[in-house]
Symmetry: C2
DNA sequence: ATCGATGTCGGGAACGATTGCGTAAAAAAA
DNA sequence: TTTTTTTACGCAATCGTTCCCGACATCGAT
């Protein structure tokens, strides 16, 4: 089953012209007389002619499609970022091919391989929690494939990188908890390999320092899979709750960490924020409906997707190699809700 | 900026063979001697040769990519369905190009146009709430483009259609509310054009009939945009709450209707389930964390995506036109939680 | 009347891969 | 040895489009 499209040859045959003439007429070449142009243009419109993008790709050695690798599209942050990517890409005539690593290194390598074999013009990537070797990315980058990193960026390659202000977001979130009267603030961290983990941990530490709170490493808990697996959050929380000096607040530095923390509290009948308060990084759009409503640091996901796609297409379409790259940092926004209210300050 | 791939010509030149021989060697043709094959194969592996998919597409008149049109990828149901679609498509060597209508008819038409101009081999579609004219779909279908409908199916074309058992899901949900002691059960419906609206409304009505409850049309509320806009849910709920005989339970027949209903109750300080109970269609995976936890009918989204993609690829690869189509109906599952517990039955 | 300039258009190669057909050399059959 | 068959490979067309050349015709200038 297939459907045959109209080609330039069909037009040429019907109008008694050569394909070259038709092609030039459609492209509005100066070499073609006005009447021939009109003839071709009218007929082309009549039979709804569309140039075959595959033939064009072969000729121009570009596919007009870009690849995207994220950890999971069901994650609000990424689905919003993808919306931003597509809005820019489509407006510039590019297809977007989306793939997910599901936080799995092998799958990420496979996706990269798959995308390059599909001859994409460029790639946007936010690496998986497991990724510590970047050769699958840098190899292709060094061969000339334009790549832009976003969210979870890497050091391996020198290119544009688009991130939220993770340091400031974490700083603000932690400061918010401190100002609300919490003393022992723990942090649930993502995989240590990730840039966002380091940035957010640094923001957390700086906020504690600036408020003269001693840093206690027993309050740092890492979840290698970023909370994808409930059990690792459970384990991390068990570690914290067994401490003789328990934390009174949690800074959950990723989306899944935040929701699985809440799931943990619900299961263990731990009351938020009375027993323990929380603020987390999250782009969910129903944090207001959770019980209690969730205080969050929200990243400008849509905007990040737009900026990243824009830069990638700029790289793709640039005549000469770009060398003066920069990191684009967009502000994160903090939303204060019930989950981070101190019991004594509650009405 | 571009990166040059290795072609069959490069191999031919280096090994002193013709491109035909190289091609045949790579395809393991019987016409090529064993030693030549090994020579070519080894060298191809050495320089990491990958056939150019674009050249193949041009030759074979197929792009090995399929298009998907959904209303919104940030919607849990669709992101899960897309996961299912991609798992099948990628395993069979197909790309997936995802587009969103955002419940807008014009955008859907544009997406369809865009996809067909990108010469996809087939298309999966779940129409927008606004779509009542199907010519943008049937036109392409009649020209021979394989299309499979899923979730929100249409009558306009005779093809495979994959849906959840909306009738049974709605029937079970309504019955559940009745069994829990609720007497006046209202329904929040999606756009009347949608198949799912009709099916779910029918299931709801049948459950009432089977339980000898009189059907009251003042309890039917429609939200044309499926709850995408908060205000329409607000309006619908205001209508219901102004009734002299208010409903004591709501069956929210779509994801966004459900969450915006909860948002409405939170805003208006209406207690769920004491003042009004609710069960809704939803594929969110944090319904257990909401306040109160949400009773839902859950669709097998991932499975639906897999089945739909499988059928589409079957259509694409079929030698002769398929005529004996069928509707595939997968069971929906009901999860009973706090939001639908009757106050008198509460502990 | 001849020449160059200009305006219009067609021929054909190219992009990368596949494939039907032709053919030389080697092997087998006569 | 001659004829036939088999083996192993190359040539060239093809997919849809673009674009470099070359080929005319017309026209003004000399």
């Amino acid at each position: 089953m297939k459907f045959e499209a109209v080609t330039i040859k069909d037009i040429a045959k019907v109008l008694g012209l050569s394909t070259s003439t038709v092609s030039r007429a459609l492209r509005d070449s100066y070499e073609i007389s006005e009447e021939t142009k009109q003839l071709v243009l009218n007929y082309a419109k009549e039979i709804n002619y569309r140039p075959n993008p595959i033939a064009l790709s072969l000729k121009e050695k570009r596919s007009r499609s870009i690849g995207v690798i994220v950890s999971e599209i069901a994650n609000s942050f990424f689905s919003q970022a993808i919306n931003g990517i597509e809005s820019i890409a489509n407006s510039k005539g590019y297809n977007v091919i989306i793939t997910q690593s599901l936080e799995n290194y092998e799958r990420e390598v496979n996706n990269m391989q798959f995308l390059s074999s599909r001859s994409i013009d460029g790639c946007l990537i936010s690496v998986s929690t497991e990724t510590k070797d970047f050769s699958h990315i840098s190899d292709l980058y060094n061969k000339g494939l334009p790549i832009v990193c976003f969210d979870r960026i890497i050091d391996g390659i020198d290119t544009y990188k688009v991130i939220a202000d993770n340091f400031q977001g974490a700083y603000d979130a932690t400061t918010h908890l401190i100002k609300n009267g919490f003393k022992r603030i723990a942090i649930l961290s993502n995989s240590e390999y990730l840039s966002i983990t380091k940035e957010r941990l640094a923001g957390y530490k700086k906020a504690l320092e600036d408020n003269k709170i001693k840093i206690d490493e027993s309050l740092f808990q890492q979840c290698y899979h970023g909370g994808m697996i409930y059990e690792e959050v459970e384990q991390a929380m068990n570690n914290l709750m067994q401490l003789k000096h328990r934390p009174d607040a949690i800074f959950a530095s990723a989306d899944k960490l935040t929701t699985n923390f809440m799931r943990y509290c619900k299961t263990k009948k731990i009351h938020i924020p009375k027993d323990i308060a929380v603020i987390g990084f999250s782009n969910l759009d129903l944090t207001d409906l959770l019980s209690p409503s969730l205080s969050v640091v929200r990243q400008p996901a849509f905007e990040m997707g737009k900026v990243a796609a824009d830069l990638l297409i700029k790289m793709i379409e640039s005549k000469r190699p770009i060398t003066d790259f920069s990191n684009i940092v967009l502000p994160a926004q903090i939303f204060e809700r019930e989950s981070s209210v101190h019991s004594r300050t509650k009405k």
